[in-house]
């Protein structure tokens, strides 16, 4: 991705240099040639030239149109996480980064990831707006309070890379920095260890019971709330007929602002869980709901193929329900 971003960057640099140098040179030449001197005391008046005006409007229009489509295509790829991405939960707070890997392993301000494997971050903030930025990967996204944010990237070489908070967040903003350590796949698995803690899905499952979600969201249609098994990635019909895809952001919002979008056929009786669950717990609940499959016995096998081939990013995030790897599955 870094190469693709840089290609666009250097295209615009080339256009900019061409016009800057070109116009400056022309201006200097004109200024020298038509400087005021005894034989050039009076100018020749030229009011304008319509064909010229059209030409120098259309050419820039063409050049920026290329930039627009190129940038839009790139952005689209950046938004669509590949299906085989591994999920990592990120919580930003003043002034640190907290990461939780799929098997439950936690770390602060340092993020270990495997090389050549798409990584999808599911992010929330406990207080103000932060922004996760890894310049080497050309990746950046705001981390908002009160809503879930996703971003993905794939590291293509091992090493240690800067991680910055890129949205002003107060006193220690410039110290809310860390490292991304990119390791070989097997080194990463060794670092990750076996069951080092409770996985986000497992934590979410516990919360689902302890917060009482299970009393309304039954696995059959008899509950007062919609069935959540297999809901992730599905298109949902809302009260009033509008449709919405149940992606991460929707699931997050349904927990923190349940009245915002009411599923058709249900009453708006669910209370908000904002404040009852921490930012991280809401992300864990989302991870759990996503893991609920109609045939949950089969398990999410395809994501754990070890060395994945270079990914063509054409599959939408919204169907990334299979992205929850089984803990330690690849060992």
């Amino acid at each position: 991705m870094a190469g693709k971003v840089d290609a666009l960057y250097f295209y615009i640099v080339a256009v900019s240099v061409f016009f800057t140098v070109g116009i400056v040179l022309v201006a200097i030449m004109l200024a020298v040639k038509y400087r005021r001197r005894p034989e050039n005391m009076v100018a020749t008046q030229i009011h304008g030239n319509l064909p010229l005006e059209i030409i120098w409007s259309v050419i820039p229009l063409g050049l920026v149109t290329v930039m627009f489509f190129w940038g839009a295509k790139l952005f689209n790829e950046q938004e669509m996480a590949p299906k085989n991405s591994m999920d990592i939960l990120v919580t930003g707070k003043k002034w640190m980064w907290k990461f939780q890997h799929a098997n439950g392993k936690r770390e602060i301000n340092v993020l270990h990831i495997p090389v050549n494997k798409p990584v999808r971050l599911t992010m929330g903030s406990e207080d103000v707006i932060h922004d996760l930025f890894v310049p080497a990967f050309r990746v950046k996204h705001d981390v908002m309070p009160g809503r879930l944010s996703n971003v993905w990237f794939e590291a293509t070489k091992t090493g240690s890379f800067h991680l910055f908070c890129n949205q002003y967040c107060g006193t220690e903003h410039s110290r809310m920095v860390g490292k991304v350590i990119v390791m070989e796949q097997n080194a990463y698995q060794a670092w990750l260890g076996g069951d080092t803690g409770e996985s986000p899905v497992k934590s979410g499952e516990k919360l689902f019971t302890s917060l009482g979600c299970a009393t309304c969201h039954l696995s059959n249609n008899a509950g007062r709330g919609p069935v959540l098994v297999g809901i992730a990635g599905k298109s949902i019909e809302l009260l009033g007929g509008a449709k919405v895809v149940a992606d991460d952001k929707y699931l997050y919002e349904s927990i923190t602002e349940p009245a915002a979008k009411i599923v058709t056929g249900y009453q708006p009786i669910m209370p908000t869980f904002k404040g009852l669950a921490t930012e991280e717990q809401v992300l864990q609940l989302v991870a759990y709901v996503k893991s609920l499959k109609a045939d949950s016995t089969a398990g999410p096998a395809p994501a754990e193929a070890g060395k994945s081939a270079p990914v063509t990013a054409d599959s939408p995030t919204t169907t990334a329900a299979t992205a929850t790897p089984a803990p330690g599955g690849a060992q």
Partner: protein
């Protein structure tokens, strides 16, 4: 060289070298200044006020640049640094750049250029200065009591739920200042519509007037939105009513939408008037009509209108929908077209001109250079996939300084040097003024060009401490800032010298076209014109070499 120019028949019969009965000596009491309704006097008290805030903003910029000499925060605390750059932004943007050209040169020139005795609402004009200085006093009070660290953008929920200090006081100050801006815009629009001299049709107007008209539209349509937005933020902070803070059920992205709805067009409040000045000066010192007059005029209006629909390009990475992102990106690219058209037309104006290089013209050449770079680097952000990398890095910092400092201040300086003889009727030392233009250009580029590279390398904005590999470029930037400071000091010396010892200039030292030069004296009398001028020709009707040939044959 004046002798070879055709004699200017339009000049009043008696045109003394220095007009003895002028607006400057029409009363010396404080009352005659602070309760004046003369647009020229109000322009001068604005000039003094904004210069004060410019010095203040410059002081904070110096603190910031000094701190950034080293990667560690060893000169100020983090809180001190955060407050320094916040105060730099607030002072420079709200109390210097936004009022700079409109309130000083606009106030002075709009009536003079259209042949009117004053603005349509002289008392509202005076009130606008009181709003401005009242707002400035509140912001100063907040600053003296420790300032604030919200950045000039006041992003929620940081500003409403987390920041300490006199946030609400500062916001109230900006609220008042906003009204001064609205009043100025309102005054200009009505004046330009209703008070043009007989014969002065829309397409005979000087391009500075077109630029001021476009700017005024933004001021009256955009400023109320930011005033309301900031008030809502103050209400949330003071009363804990949830509007923008998700902790109280608010939406932080809503704040960004409302804030940028004004604050993006606000950039055009700064740059459009500068563009107007460039058109005036380049025409005078090339002795030529501006190439493609109507395209340059209309492009100002297009920039003002399209500029209202691009605000979302500040928010591509907030989680704003991809569809919205695409629309905002496409519209943002569209703004490039009228800007490019202007640049091409200015360059074409030089063709077959008779060009001289006095200080105002040197600033124009400087403007062309930095505006090209500033404008073209604007193309990097609406290229969505690239914005992901460059957003909120030093690349952005460099880009907007190229527009707002390089572009707007160079334009302001060009205008100040150009109309100084009209405002005070006195010469300034030309050689020294030219040196000031060159120093500004060199210092400016040395300060801000390295910041593009820093941004591409990944240096985020608002960083008190940074990783050591960025240090070399930061040192370059601070070195450049020192040269830039000299570049700003030189004009101050020139103008001070001019006021004390300057030779009288006569009513039209540049032999320029325009009612202010041809039909009024220097300095102008309080009533501007001895009789209402009648306009019979287009703007910039300079002598034509070919026409002369034709009449001779």
């Amino acid at each position: 060289m004046e002798t070879t120019m055709e004699t200017n028949a339009a000049m009043p019969a008696e045109s003394p070298l220095y007009n003895k009965r002028n607006y400057l000596n029409n009363g010396y009491s404080l009352r005659s200044w602070f309760l004046t309704v003369d647009h020229k006097r109000i322009a001068l008290i604005y000039l003094a006020s904004i210069t004060f805030f410019f010095i203040l903003g410059g002081f904070f910029a110096m603190l910031v640049r000094l701190e950034l000499l080293t990667p560690k925060g060893d000169f100020m605390t983090s809180d001190g640094y955060n407050r320094a750059f916040t105060m730099h932004g607030i002072m420079m943007i709200f109390f210097f750049l936004i009022p700079s050209i409109p309130a000083v040169l606009g106030n002075f020139l709009v009536p003079l250029q259209i042949g009117a005795k004053d603005l349509a609402f002289p008392k509202i004009n005076l009130l606008s200065w009181y709003m401005y200085i009242g707002g400035g006093a509140l912001a100063l009070f907040a600053m003296i009591n420790g300032g604030i660290d919200t950045t000039w953008r006041f992003y929620t929920p940081y500003s409403t739920g987390h920041a300490s200090g006199y946030v609400v006081t500062t916001i109230l100050g900006l609220f008042l200042m906003g009204f001064s801006s609205i009043f100025t815009g309102l005054n200009f629009i009505v004046t330009i519509h209703k008070m043009r001299a007989p014969g002065l049709t829309w397409f005979r107007l000087p391009l500075f007037i077109w630029a001021m008209y476009a700017t005024s539209l933004i001021q009256i349509l955009g400023t109320p939105v930011v005033a309301i937005t900031l008030s809502l933020a103050a209400v949330e902070k003071g009363l804990k009513i949830g509007i923008f803070d998700p902790a109280y059920g608010g939406d932080p992205i809503l704040f960004q939408h409302l804030f940028w709805f004004y604050s993006h067009p606000a950039v055009y409040i700064m740059i459009l008037p500068a563009m107007g000045i460039i058109s005036e000066v380049i025409s005078c010192f090339s002795r030529k009509v501006v190439f493609g007059y109507s395209f340059v005029a209309i492009s100002s209006m297009m920039i003002a209108v399209i500029g209202f629909f691009v605000w979302g390009h500040h928010m591509f990475l907030t989680g704003q929908s991809q569809f919205a992102g695409l629309i905002f990106a496409a519209l943002s690219f569209l703004v490039a077209i009228p800007s490019a058209v202007k640049t091409f037309n200015w360059t074409a104006t030089l063709y077959k001109g008779s060009i001289s290089f006095e200080a105002p013209m040197l600033y124009v050449f400087g403007f062309l250079g930095v505006f090209l770079i500033g404008g073209l680097t604007g193309l990097f952000f609406p290229a969505l996939g690239l914005d992901r990398h460059l957003h909120d890095t030093y690349f952005v910092v460099a880009h907007f300084h190229y527009i707002m400092v390089g572009g707007a201040i160079m334009g302001y300086m060009a205008g100040l040097h150009f109309w100084w003889p009209k405002m005070f009727g006195k010469k300034y030392p030309e050689g020294l003024a030219q040196a000031g233009a060159v120093a500004t250009f060199i210092g400016f580029n040395l300060t801000f060009f390295p910041q593009f590279i820093l941004g591409y390398m990944g240096m985020p904005r608002h960083y008190h401490e940074y990783v050591p590999e960025f240090q070399f470029l930061h040192i370059l930037s601070t070195a450049g800032a020192s040269v830039l400071a000299i570049g700003y000091l030189i004009p101050a010396i020139c103008f001070g010298w001019s006021l004390l010892f300057g030779e009288p200039t006569g009513p039209n030292p540049w032999n320029a076209k325009g009612l202010e030069w041809e039909k009024s004296l220097s300095p102008p009398p309080t009533e501007n014109f001895s009789e209402i001028p009648v306009v019979t020709e287009e703007a910039y009707n300079y002598p034509d070499a070919e026409a002369t040939v034709v009449t001779r044959s």
